[in-house]
């Protein structure tokens, strides 16, 4: 089942690259992916921890437990659902490209295949390799079809993420070598089973922790390694921005929950220098995301940059949930990965729709768009509400859990202070999002906006699906959490 899920977009991409097929075929691939994901979602046994729907090849290299192994647990399944829905929406919201449309659609399918592969791989090597597979078409698409300063944005994101990947790779190798030989394995399930055994000596945990946090951190745009993201997202074509900010970026967080939390649980208490522990440094970095990047977002005057920076900012909350190292915080962080992915994808989709109509996204040139574009206006309002954490949307449920989780650390007053400071971020995000919402959609309509045509047909369903899922998650977080619970309990054991 999982193999088919992975093969569908790859075959689709190959067909497109060889000149066969068109956008309709790409959409069909995305639809099949989504259908398979739904079958998996409803077929998954939520009462059990561990991977399901597993399949594995024989060891690929002599002497190493390296296999092509696929499987999903609650966490990866939730992210898989995110991947499939966002891919689907990305195709329906994608602009019509004139320059090499086949390559464009093939790249989107490959990104989707890469992310899917990373989330369903049960093997460390493929977990890493599939992520790389997704990155390459991302770079290409920004370079070829991007807007604005696409060349420099493409190079910046390439160099930055390549460096991040290399640091991550060093970290992975370091982690692998830190595990006692008898327990070494590429199998994520076997690695996860080591959780709570403190199998790596406390002193040996810090170095791989640092490499991994920096490596994953770069990929997730953790402050101060975030500056690739805004320009990259702002110039990326709509489907890329949706898929990267919405889904691919979550790979780093997924990796942290999969590997760092269970295997290096004591590292965060280690002193790095002076009296600063590793956790303190992480908290400072995530406060950088929430407060500093939040302020930077306030200073932006273009809609795409606002959304791009805001997506960087929100990573801070997810890190806060992870830093709390308890069930509440980690559940919040995981659910926030999902809800942030949906809301930012919706925002970038609408942003792209506006770019198709206006060309420039600077706030001064837009205004009163809700009059001509009522449907897009309502969707943007809802996505804004989701993004600033209003009840009714999954983002709120997740953020609340993050705050409660982080605050439930009685022994550590710094993380409590960080929680309170992060709460202020909720005010900041409301300021910039509502300001942007007002300048773009409310007020007197601009002259050019009167000629615009609202979104019609299936794209409405695509956008609506993202928002519906956000509302479902907001009203019934319990349902989504029931998928996560056994997995996260295993991670935290």
């Amino acid at each position: 089942m999982l193999t088919i899920l992975l093969l569908v977009p790859i075959i689709g991409a190959i067909a497109l690259l060889s000149g066969n097929g068109d956008r309709r075929m790409a959409k069909l691939c995305a639809a099949i992916q989504a259908a398979i994901t739904l079958v998996l979602w409803f077929g998954y046994d939520r009462t059990k921890a561990g991977f399901q729907f597993t399949s594995a090849s024989d060891p690929l290299l002599p002497g190493l437990d390296l296999r092509f192994a696929l499987g999903v647990d609650g966490l990866s399944l939730l992210l898989l659902l995110l991947t499939s829905i966002v891919t689907l929406a990305a195709f329906w919201m994608a602009p019509n490209v004139e320059k090499r449309p086949g390559l464009f659609d093939a790249c989107v399918l490959l990104i989707s295949a890469g992310i899917t592969g990373a989330f369903i791989s049960q093997d460390l090597f493929f977990f890493y390799a599939f992520h790389e597979l997704a990155l390459i078409p991302t770079f290409l698409m920004i370079g070829i079809w991007g807007s604005g300063e696409r060349q420099s944005a493409a190079w910046k994101i390439t160099i930055y993420l390549a460096l991040g990947s290399i640091i991550l790779l060093i970290g992975l190798v370091d982690l692998f070598l830190a595990i006692p030989e008898a327990n070494r394995s590429f199998d994520l399930e076997k690695l996860q089973a080591l959780a709570g055994l403190h199998i790596i000596p406390v002193q040996a945990q810090l170095r791989p922790w640092c490499f991994l946090m920096v490596g994953f951190g770069v990929l997730v745009s953790l402050f101060p390694f975030h500056s690739w993201a805004p320009s990259g997202y702002a110039s990326a074509p709509t489907p890329v921005a949706m898929l990267h900010a919405g889904v691919l970026k979550k790979f780093g967080l997924y990796g942290i929950i999969r590997l760092v939390v269970p295997l290096l649980p004591d590292a965060s208490k280690q002193v790095v220098f002076g009296s600063w522990t590793a956790l303190d440094l992480l908290l400072i970095a995530l406060l950088g995301n929430i407060l500093y990047v939040g302020l930077v977002t306030l200073a932006q005057r273009k809609l795409d940059y606002i959304i791009a920076y805001s997506s960087v900012m929100h990573m801070g909350y997810i890190f806060l949930g992870i830093a709390s190292l308890n069930m509440i915080g980690l559940s919040g962080a995981s659910l926030l990965m999902f809800s942030h992915g949906l809301s930012v994808a919706a925002l970038f989709a609408i942003c792209g729709a506006l770019r198709d109509r206006e060309g420039s996204l600077s706030l001064e040139r837009l205004g009163g768009a809700a009059k001509a574009l009522p449907f897009l206006g309502i969707c943007f309002t809802l996505a804004t509400f989701a993004s600033i954490g209003l009840p009714g949307f999954a983002n709120f449920a997740s953020e609340v859990m993050v705050f409660f989780g982080a605050f439930q650390n009685p022994g550590n007053s710094f993380i409590r202070l960080a929680t309170i400071l992060s709460l202020w971020g909720v005010v900041i995000s409301a300021v910039y999002m509502l300001r942007a919402h007002k300048s773009v959609f409310l007020g007197q309509p601009t002259d050019s906006s009167t000629k615009w045509v609202d979104l019609t047909g299936t794209p409405r369903i695509a956008l609506g699906a993202l928002l519906t899922l956000l509302l479902l998650g907001g009203f019934f977080p319990k349902y989504f959490l029931s998928y996560l619970k056994p997995t996260l309990e295993a991670v935290l054991r």
Binding site: L66, F125, A129, E132, L133, I136, F139, L140, G143, I144, W155, K156, T158, I159, A162, L163, S165, I166, L169, V173, S227, W228, Y292, V293, L295, V296, L298, A299, Q300, M327, I328, G368, L390, P391, G392, F396, A397, V400, F403, F404, F407, Q408, P410, R416, T419, I420, L423, V426, V427, A430, L434, R435, K438, F441, L442, G443, Q444, P477, K478, L481
Partner: protein
């Protein structure tokens, strides 16, 4: 039955909101019908709950469940305090719905309006029925959303959109404190339910500093929602919304939620004398300050808005002097007469084609008699004329303040004086004398759907203060607790004298005038506080933002990233690859390189 009742009250407006906003918005008539049906179901349910339900009833649905260690519940609870609020919210809600059918008749966004109104009813009832802090916070935020949507109803108007944002953001600042308070209380008592916190209160009282801090943090939420100083700035601007909204949300119910919340958590505030006195002073200062500003406003809705601020200040001060029963009593009577006044002003605005300046009115007594008589009753009730509702409830607060703190009492008394003054000014200028504009000459009473709610509210503004009416609603014990202060004849005498003084002075000063004989610019300009805030935001937040923006662009991104990367091997290697000048070729090499590197490392 008993357990489904609160759910019925809560969920019927939600169902209506969803149906209207998602499906029925194309048909205005259907939207109105759904919305009306929902509010009457809630009203009926509330009446039933009032007459039948046991003293305290609770039922819940688990919203977030992470095992026994952490659960967030949507728990509903009906006790005496809830019953009062249920009646106020659904009763006035129903009248405002009826009134709006005519007021919003020609509005192209009528369906959206009624959908949002239903959403508001749902959110407000959620606050009222909440049995725990987390749920209260959820609905607290939702009330903010519906208020945002309704203030910004005429969204193509720049000022309405700006007012909606201002309201939302100011409230968010208060909610920041509220949430921090919730976290603190939860971390100390390990519980969120009001009953559970009360049971674990000793954990809090053991640590007086934390107790005071958490009490004041929670109070921040009320400062935002009930528009107390220094977060009062949003409420006058919120008058940009349609007038029925001002009546329901920004006078009778939502802004009173802060007071209701304080009454709900009073057990938590009571042990801290410091917290209570901060609350009392903020309330009293707001009361006096807003009353002062009201004397110099010319927009009929702005006068009423400042009056609302001032009365909310009195209620908050009442909590601060420990008389939460008196505050709830005043909240109850105030809801009727202030809704009446707003709906009355709406009738004028409707009849005068959106004229809101009282100096362009005049002579409305003759052309709009029904509006005049009901408005006059509302005014008398508000200003504390003897034997009307406001007299009794304000008296209860004054008595409590007198017993507790003479300064607070003084503030409240001056506020009463000013209230009588500015309301008489409003009535005299708008209704008496000659018409001062064409629109005012052609004033006329509105259709029955608008005047009947006025009439009902006028009757309630007369009777709501009498024990016969109020006692069964509050419950015998609570009602008498509201009057716990010693019987004292001095206080009511003083109250009546300031009422008479204020009324007479204003009548003498303003009768027959065609422009304001007194102009105090700082008061008319809101003491320049809004300007000060704008400057403060521009001077701090905006400066910080542009500084960070600059830092990010030129330092972090410019120097640091490029400098750092140029110095490392990885980037040097990658930069050489740049010579290919071909991204695709590079991408392939990059992928191959990573795979090869991994292979080598594993080997």
């Amino acid at each position: 039955m008993a357990h489904t009742l609160p759910w019925l009250i809560l969920l019927s407006p939600l169902v209506s909101a969803l149906l209207v906003l998602l499906f029925a918005h194309r048909s205005k008539a259907l939207s109105v019908a759904l919305s009306l049906a929902a509010v009457f179901v809630s009203l009926g349910g509330s009446l039933l709950a009032f007459s039948k339900a046991p003293e305290s009833l609770s039922t819940h649905f688990t919203w977030i469940d992470l095992g026994p260690a952490f659960q967030l519940n949507i728990g509903l609870k009906i006790d005496d305090l809830t019953k009062v609020m249920l009646l106020v919210v659904t009763g006035i809600g129903a009248l405002v719905h009826i009134y709006s059918t005519v007021y919003m008749e020609k509005d192209e966004g009528k369906s959206r309006f009624f959908g949002s109104l239903s959403l508001f009813m749902f959110s407000m009832l959620g606050i009222v029925l909440a049995d725990n802090l987390a749920m209260m916070f959820i609905f607290w935020e939702l009330v903010g959303v519906s208020s945002y949507l309704l203030i910004g109803h005429w969204f193509t108007k720049e000022s309405a959109a700006a007012a909606a944002n201002k309201a939302f953001l100011t409230n968010r600042i208060g909610d920041f404190g509220f949430m921090a308070g919730i976290l603190l209380v939860w971390s100390i008592t390990d519980s969120l339910g009001f009953a559970e916190i009360a049971a674990n209160i000793s954990k809090l009282t053991n640590n007086p500093t934390l107790l005071t801090i958490s009490g004041l943090c929670l109070f921040c939420g009320a400062v935002g929602k009930s528009a107390q100083l220094p977060l009062h700035v949003w409420l006058p601007d919120a008058m940009e919304g349609p007038t029925p909204v001002s009546a329901l949300i920004h006078a009778a119910t939502m802004v009173a939620a802060g007071v209701y919340m304080l009454a709900r958590i009073f057990f938590l505030l009571e042990p801290s004398a410091l917290a209570l006195s901060v609350i009392a002073w903020i309330g009293a200062t707001t009361a006096l300050f807003a009353a002062l500003l009201a004397t110099q406003q010319n927009d009929i809705k702005k006068i009423l808005a400042y009056s609302t601020l001032s009365q909310l200040g009195l209620m908050v001060a009442g909590i601060g002097v420990g008389a939460w029963g008196a505050s709830m009593f005043h909240l109850f009577t105030h809801a009727f007469f202030k809704a009446l006044l707003f709906l009355g002003s709406g009738a004028i605005i409707h009849a005068l084609h959106h004229e809101q300046d009282i100096w362009k009115m005049g002579g409305l007594k003759k052309t709009m008699p029904k509006t005049f008589w009901t408005f006059a009753i509302g005014t008398l009730a508000l200003t504390g004329a003897p034997f009307l509702a406001g007299f009794f409830s304000k008296d209860a607060i004054l008595l409590a303040a007198y017993a507790k703190n003479p300064f607070i009492f003084g503030f409240a008394l001056i506020t009463s004086l000013l209230t009588a003054f500015y309301m008489t000014r409003l009535v005299v200028v708008a209704f008496f004398g000659k018409a001062r504009s064409d629109a005012a000459k052609h004033g006329h009473d509105c259709p029955p759907a608008m005047t009947v709610p006025l009439l009902i509210l006028a009757i309630l503004s007369i009777i709501a203060g009498y024990p016969v009416f109020a006692e069964p609603i509050f419950g015998h014990d609570n009602f008498h607790a509201a009057h716990a202060a010693t019987h004292n004849t001095l206080v009511p005498l003083l109250a009546i004298s300031v009422f008479a003084l204020g009324t007479i002075v204003a009548y003498v000063l303003y009768c027959g005038k065609s422009k304001d004989p007194i102009v105090i610019r700082p008061l008319a300009n809101r003491l320049y506080i809004d300007e000060f805030y704008s400057a403060l935001i521009a001077g701090t937040q905006d400066v910080l933002a542009s500084l960070s923006g600059w830092l990010d662009r030129y330092v972090l991104d410019g120097v640091l990233v490029r400098g750092l990367s140029a110095g490392t091997w990885g980037a040097g290697y990658l930069f050489r690859l740049l010579q290919f000048g071909n991204l695709q070729g590079y991408a392939f090499l990059f992928g191959a390189g990573v795979v090869a590197l991994l292979y080598l490392l594993i080997k």
